[in-house]
Symmetry: C2
Subunit: 594 residues, 2 copies
């Protein structure tokens, strides 16, 4: 593998030389700026061998470097060893940002290329301006890997299917109409939809082009006059195709978008989300059109779940809760009996979910971390690297399901033996953080970066912290990571609004020892309105016991104990009618008050 | 007064017409973008009659409007009544931003003027770009008021004096040297210092050109080659002038800055803080120079107090604490005996401070709010509007002193009678917020907008809030409001760093009833460093009892009670040796444990 990577980098350098490029930058995404990628677009693992879900690669003629975040430092170190690619730790003192690295390694007048289809307008603009200050040119070079990647997988070709109205809850014509209304408010009259989840949501269509996210490769152009879906027609069965056409939706080939953009008439006012649109699309808009930069409208709309969607999500949570309780019961009964590894756990979590009605798949590959593997934040377990589980210490599992009526994401960490005082302290501190965020009440316009400290402050008091965000949006039978809002320290100017669905997942990692994370999904609800503001609060959606054996009760105040006991009572009451007779006692035990 | 204002606005319209302007915008600051202004620069009260400390005015040919924030809504409503100027409430739903207002009231092609000396580079740039999108031009029109304000006060002329080294603690040559080192790190080689407190700090000089802030009108140019102070020479006595010149500091006339800038040679790399530099300075920098936009270096440096400064500030706090206790004792003994009004309180607060050694003045005009006046956030008491104080309800007083060894800012709210349950609840909620922020421990790089919620969350839980920030930086024998950092909801990318001095002042206002605010000053200190980060914490500087009669003890947890009792014990131990015999018993009583 190391030699293969070295060869690929050498081949890339030959292509770079031919094109007159001093460096080539791989953002490692696709033209839709997706998180999960079809193999065709897995350019980062192809060129570097690094398989983490985030990172970028820069290759110059003398050096090559990969940037990734703290979740992947360990994994990247292992996978890059011997390839000649240096690991650059993101947001870590002493490590340069990509632009700084380029300035350090290139002369004035140098040219850096990147594939304009796989970088956002914002990223391109920022990097171009930054490098420009040092006389380095960033150019749209197209996809250099195409010229060397001989066995490159073709674009995915899976069938598109409808997200039936009884699940999607809102007719696509109504959604398109709402988008057009919002466009007018923004001063635009047309939006190019590029994010695959925005697209799936707008059209009530789903696909299987990538793992875990039920999306399909396409673009759309939405305006009051015309709705165009740019998609390979072979992905649509005749019936669906006719249905879409009968609704006035015009179909065009996926790769026809650039041509379409270039012929747009004067006075077209195109809404472009600079963070969610690739630079090539921006570049193909003719000068005669007006560009209005704003948040993607379906991105904004789909984050606010409808009452019908929230009702369905609560159904999905019941199913997911039953699957989780079945899993916990299986774990308790089998741990001493049969050989159980981290990989078995991942399989079992999937198996129990798959028995639930409306199950459509898992929402991401389960993260199962026993003991020291738990401290590798996004540990990717395989049959080869899986640790066998013994009755000792902590086991962390982060998993989720795709159901037609909702997407789930839950993490529990369980104690497999008596714990030390320190272990209980650690576990209780993150539980306190999760409860504190859950109980937050806050005025409208509050941002996620205002709330994030609630999950961290108890850890901070002990000189502890975790290196990732606290909460992300969750799609509705869509991507498990959904914007535009988040609960994290980083600046993000989107307020937390009523009917948004978010995760709440404080964590703590002791490197080489164990990892702890407790994650519930929550929905934001309207609370009281007073003369001092309109207030919001959270309601927990996830229904699954939290391991009370790992708690140091003396560290909880009465409010926290009440929350936990009420939560467990609710979990019991909601799941008890749905589980088999033999599980009822187990559930009762797992949800007993402390 | 109403007719006078109407006349002035009509006169301004005549000047606007002559200059071909459709609107004229008055930011209401001076060329140094100061908060406290010499009368010469009090353009906002001149044109509008509104005397609050924040706000801007736009006059068009048909309309006129004044923007101010929630602290001043009541005051502005009263003062604008009958003038024809509409009040536009800032950050309030339904009220337009100034740019929106201009777009609503002007045609495409219209021209808006503003005095380029009294608007920051950022404000000018942002407004120009915003208006430009609607085809409205923002132009540098100079100061239109000059042509109509016949009895305009001249520029202040007060003497400049040295902040002696035993107080300033760091030699000005050392400060200038540090500024030059920092300039090089920023890629610049020259900074124009424009903010008056930056200037006073850099040169260890002080003045009395404005009320409350011990600053003087000047600019400076700092580079490795040359230090130039642009100041009217008559403000410097011969001895000080000779001393500065002997140290190699060149003196130039105050109004010579623009000429100086225009002759700067090629390759000069000028650091400009776009938020702290006026547009005229930017406009006078020749194209042959390079502009590096960055935070003002003395602004950054002076916010981090030296150990010697912090030691002195603690001395100033002892003096301020003694003055406050003397005041509280006087209040207790005189309230039933003599006529006491809000104005008497303001005078007494000043009188007790003035008896302390190294007293240089008050750091702002005391805000004294009895009963409903307490709910007017920045109530400006006068002999005319002062309420007489009775033994009933709440009395709020926010005051501070300037001492050679530090600037103070403290608010206390005291109960003058038995309180209702609701009054005690309100008081205790803001106390909880203040304690929560005081006890925060947080990693480096934490911003003020991360911490702000700690002061608010208990209020939020009750559907309550306050409409201003929680903490501001405080100068060292300088401005009581000092940047660049703050603790508030608004985005401000400056981290809270060790050795910064900040206020902590959660509050709550019941309109028409009372206002509550409890304010201590704190210094940020290094706490432990762990593998999870380098942590910081706060240490309280202010030494003055908090009224325990207003507290509902049942609402405090043991951590909060401990903090309060420890704080009071410290207040007693530190102040007891410094107060007169007859006050010792009073202090003991005021600081008794709850």
């Amino acid at each position: 593998m190391k030699e293969l990577i070295k060869n690929r980098i050498n081949n890339l350098r030959l292509v770079m030389q031919k094109k007159g490029l001093d460096s080539y930058l791989i953002y490692g995404t696709d033209p839709h700026l997706s998180e999960y990628l079809p193999t065709h677009w897995q350019t980062r693992p192809y060129i570097s061998g690094f398989t983490g879900s985030a990172g970028m690669v820069i290759v110059s003629h003398k050096k090559a470097a990969l940037w990734t975040d703290s979740r992947y430092f360990l994994q990247a170190e292992e996978q890059l060893a011997g390839t000649g690619i240096e690991l650059v730790k993101m947001r870590t003192p002493g490590f340069p940002e990509p632009a700084e690295w380029l300035k350090m390694n290139l002369e004035k007048g140098a040219t850096v290329g990147t594939d304009e289809w796989c970088i956002s307008v914002s990223q391109f603009r920022q990097l171009q301006s930054n490098l420009g200050q040092s006389g380095i040119n960033l150019v749209e070079s197209g996809d250099l890997l195409n010229e060397m990647w001989t066995d490159r997988p073709s674009l995915p070709d899976s069938a598109i299917y409808e997200h039936e109205l009884r699940y999607s809850c809102t007719d696509r014509q109504e959604k398109i109409n709402t988008i057009c209304n919002e466009l007018e408010k923004s001063g635009a009259n047309l939006q190019i939809i590029t994010a695959l989840d925005d697209l799936a949501w707008t059209f009530n269509l789903r696909g299987t082009d990538v793992e875990y996210n039920p999306v399909f490769m396409a673009y759309a152009s939405i305006s009051r006059e015309k709705t165009i879906l740019f998609v390979e027609e072979r992905k649509l069965q005749q019936e669906l195709k006719s249905k879409l056409e009968s609704e006035g939706i015009q179909l065009m080939a996926y790769n026809n978008l650039a041509n379409y953009l270039r012929q747009l008439p004067k006075n077209t006012r195109i809404l472009i989300d600079p963070d969610r649109t690739n630079q090539a699309i921006r570049g193909n808009i003719p000068d005669r059109c007006v560009v209005v930069e704003s948040l993607s409208i379906p991105c904004k709309l789909k984050a606010i779940k409808t009452d019908a969607e929230i009702k369905n999500i609560r159904q999905a949570m019941l199913k997911d809760g039953v699957a989780m309780v079945e899993f916990l019961f299986w774990l308790e009964n089998n741990l001493s009996e049969i050989r159980v590894t981290e990989y078995t756990i991942a399989e079992k979590l999937t198996e129990f979910r798959s028995k639930q009605p409306d199950y459509k798949g898992i929402s991401f590959f389960p993260i199962v971390g026993y003991k020291e593997h738990g401290a590798i934040v996004h540990f990717h377990v395989s049959e080869e690297n899986a640790l066998p589980i013994e009755k000792d210490g902590f086991l962390l599992f982060d998993s989720g399901g795709q159901y037609s009526d909702g997407t789930t994401d839950i993490t529990r960490t369980v104690a497999l033996s008596e714990l030390s005082t320190r272990q209980k302290t650690d576990f209780t501190l993150i539980l306190k953080g999760m409860i504190s965020l859950t109980l937050a009440k806050f005025p409208v316009n509050t941002r996620g970066y205002h709330l994030d400290i609630l999950a961290r402050k108890d850890l901070w008091q002990h000189g502890m912290n975790y290196g990732h965000g606290t909460g992300h949006g969750v799609g509705y039978f869509l991507n498990v990571h959904e914007g535009p809002m988040a609960i994290r320290q980083e600046f993000n100017d989107r307020a937390i609004e009523a009917d948004m669905v978010l995760s709440n997942e404080p964590a703590f990692y002791r490197l080489g020892e164990y990892g702890l994370r407790t994650e519930n999904m929550m929905v934001c609800l309207k609370d009281e309105s007073t003369e001092f503001g309109d207030f919001l609060r959270f309601d927990t959606l996830t229904l699954c016991p939290i391991d009370t054996n790992a708690i140091d009760k003396s560290m909880l105040n009465s409010e926290e104990i009440n929350w936990l006991n009420n939560y467990h009572q609710r979990v019991f009451e909601e799941l008890e009618p749905l589980v088999d007779e033999e599980l009822k006692g187990f559930l009762k035990e797992q949800t007993r008050a402390i």
